[in-house]
Amino acid sequence: MSKFEVPVGPQHPALKEPESFTFVVDGEHIVEVRPRIGYNHRGIEKAAESRTYIQNLYLMERICGICSVAHTTCYAQNVEYLYEKEIPPRAEYIRVIINELNRIHSHLLWLGIAGHEIGFDTLFMYVWRDREHVMDVIEAITGNRVNYAINTIGGVRRDLTDEAIAKARKVLDILEERTKYYRRVAAAEPSLISRVKGIGILKPSDAVRLCAVGPTLRASAIKSDVRKDDPYSAYEEIPFNALSYDMCDVFSRILVRVDETLEAINIIRYCLDHLPNGPVRIKLPRNPPAGEAVSKVEAPRGEDIHYVRSDGTERPARYKVRAPTLGNIPAVCDMLTSKADCTVNIADIPIVLASIDPCFSCTDRAIKFVDPRKQKEWIWSHQQLERYSRRKANP
């Protein structure tokens, strides 16, 4: 069956659209998904080769503004592996505290956005208001809300003050209460559950086969977490639960993230209660020894992996980053493809995409549709797809 192009939509037909996905459909049902990333490809790996190791800290933090510190932690660790030097224990604990605070802010951010995708705009406002508490604590500790600049090679740049610690404890109490409230809402609100139960199924065998990561993987019954499987920083000493849920759907992913937020609160409390004394950084020579290393952290979205090759000079010979979202693209394509026992509709796309917590821009991703049987192709903006999805949910 031949197909021809009939571009429809506000975009000019001759405009080349950097769409992130192309969906091959048959009426409402999605038959195939083809990813095409590149929307925010900036050329970071090349840039890293012409900057020093210290300059690259600032570059790495800006790979993703939401999980910024996960990347700098992974990076700093990687370079510290080259030096074969351990950083002071107090620095490791501070790294854990900041990383877990970052996880809380990221999961709450996501919860608000997911709420918006389902049609619960008030949930978005409530959650983002609560999230401001986390931003306040992060600012009290690091001096910044979003890009913390807390990590350096050899430790962290700032110590925790008593005021910051006191503030953190207070905020954790508030957050715990609020998160438990969201947990109750998520588990019991019928209009929410009906929109997310049974949607976006990713079978455990497919999750493993397609190498999914993070909450996406853990919501398909696979209890895999870098903090447990390949412990880094102070995680080996800190008691906490790795969790998974086995419903394999969007609902499962919501529960994983909400429970991880509660777990993160406990981890931070443990760290504050057991904070080792001592310095927060060691000084290291400007050039790391020649060699290579692999570093991994559990970012809020999942496994973040970095590779470094040093030739003994002040600039890396090669720096490779695989941010977690890329690891979940094959899985989300699978979730969005209809199978014999499970059809997937166009209206499901926004919430299923959101359920993997994608790290590319959430506004204005163009999505292309191809219907070979009806012989048409069209491009929608994310807003158009959202509106369509909401209309289908509330006829």
Binding site: Q11, P18, H41, R42, R62, C64, I66, D364
Partner: protein, 142 residues
């Protein structure tokens, strides 16, 4: 452009259109935070809207990647006059930390005209509101 008409048009709530040109999302989440009750950008009479065809102010984040360049130019063309462009963050102001990278333009103004620059990496919501409010005051002032 008739100044009287402009002033009248400007006394209504200007519609903001937000567009991400390849940003890391830091500026975007602070733009969104600016809309939440704690900061409440909307009290300045600005409303975030989706469609460029009805937009007055284009709020842009991100270093403009090659893939996105045609799109941002097109969106700018689709906006009716009078229109204004705000570059939010270091990346849209100059390319930021990505200046010199092979896939990134050296700042939004190398692609479309810019009326206001809000520096920061990312700028705090207060700074974003400050910048947008200052632009609105300038527009209203004629």
């Amino acid at each position: 452009m008739k100044l009287g008409l402009v002033k009248w048009a400007r006394t209504k709530s200007p519609w903001l259109v937000h567009f991400n040109t390849g940003a890391c999302n830091a500026c975007d989440i602070e733009v969104l935070a600016a809309l939440t009750p704690r900061y409440d950008l909307e009290r300045f009479g600005a409303i975030l809207r989706g469609s460029p065809r009805h937009g007055d102010v284009l709020v842009v984040t991100g270093p403009v990647t090659r893939q996105v360049k045609d799109r941002i130019v097109r969106i700018h063309e689709q906006m009716p006059e009078p229109k204004f462009v705000v570059a939010v963050g270091s990346c849209s102001s100059s390319g930021g930390v990505f200046r010199g990278c092979y896939n990134v333009y050296p700042g939004l103004d190398s692609v479309v005209p810019v009326d206001a620059y809000i520096g920061g990496c990312p700028p705090k919501p207060e700074a974003i509101i400050n910048g947008v409010a200052a632009l609105l005051a300038k527009i209203r002032g004629g």
